[in-house]
Symmetry: C2
Subunit: 217 residues, 2 copies
């Protein structure tokens, strides 16, 4: 009986709301700090280049010690990958959002193009298009390729859906996805935060070209 | 009189057809060898990366000594620039060709897009899109930017001509040029020489998207 009570107490300690709140707060705090490390690294890589940036630089930008940075990531390569993944996640979220939508394939594609432009003009834009050029280890290179392929498949499946529902004219879906993604990826090469157009305005002009084409209707 | 005859002989030696042919042959020979150095460098940079390739590697690929390579270029950075310029020249030639044409702006743009795709799928494609990411000296960086700007202005002026002659619907010519150039530049990231489609077929699909858009007509 005493034993059962003791077990119950342990169980309450381990699963009680107060304890969970505290664990939750610590997890959120850790996530917030990790996000700050990744965002700071993304800025540093973009401004100084990946090879010219050390973990010491990033620790110094964050005003923490290098061991603190190692608490969140194993090494610089993993940090670049996390920056790459953070940017791609913005696009993946955009693709996932559209999965529940009853809009046409063309309209869902346009919504994803807008999210894509937001991602490329974000702090992660540089890492998104430069990660694969940085002499990554074979394992890391495979992870980068696999995430890029997910985005590519997402775009192709929206184009395919549009052709099926009649909102997109029949086309070579692979080349169409490559042309659209290429135009969008290139934003990271020319976009500056003080550009006259913001991400939504850039996306709107790109969508106009991709939807309407240049030939007058 | 003897003096005049002597001068005449010198003049004949200096400007006679036989001498010119020989000078011409030597110039052509030098140009051919220089082109071989540039092409070999372009392949090496693409396969191993710019920072992982030394002038020794390029000399070894060419089966010549390093001083022979220095006979044609001052340093590795200049070699990268020459690879970049060789690729861009293919596009500039395409733009120049269209200057004499009486076709519509849209058709001239399509012809340039085809040349652009050929350039990006050539051995110089990698250097064309990677040159600016290689920690260039400020002077070299300015030269790269200036040549890129020439291409951009060429595309914009074709779009403007198309809007004027009615073959292209009114659009944001800068963003349209950026979207088209971005889609084309990105070819260098995914194209492999054993791809099913060749440059002309890729260009044709890109032109379809850019001209007709995705929305059925």
């Amino acid at each position: 009986m005493a034993d059962r009570q003791a077990r119950k107490n342990v169980s309450q300690r381990a699963s009680g709301p107060a304890l969970w709140a505290s664990v939750g707060a610590r997890v959120r705090d850790r996530e917030r700090k990790r996000d700050a490390v990744i965002l700071t690294a993304a800025r540093a890589f973009r401004e100084r280049g990946y090879h010219n940036t050390s973990l010491d630089d990033i620790a110094s930008d964050l005003k923490v010690t290098k061991p603190t940075v190692y608490h969140y990531v194993e090494n610089k390569e993993q940090l670049l990958f996390e920056c790459f993944r953070a940017g791609l996640k913005l696009i993946m979220d955009g693709i996932d959002e559209q999965k529940e939508s009853s809009a046409t394939g063309r309209d869902r594609l346009a919504a994803v193009v807008t999210r894509y432009a937001e991602a490329l003009t974000s702090e992660f834009g540089w890492c998104m298009v430069q990660a694969e050029n940085q002499d990554l280890s074979p394992a890391m290179s495979r992870k980068v390729k696999s995430l890029k392929s997910e985005i590519d498949q997402g775009l192709r499946s929206l184009i395919r859906a549009g052709v099926t529902d009649g909102s997109i004219r029949p086309c070579d879906e692979k080349m169409t996805a490559f042309a659209i993604a290429g135009g969008l990826n290139w934003i990271a090469h020319w976009y500056r935060a003080d550009d006259k157009l913001d991400a939504a305005q850039i996306a709107q002009r790109f969508i106009e070209l991709f939807e309407l084409g240049l030939r007058p209707r």
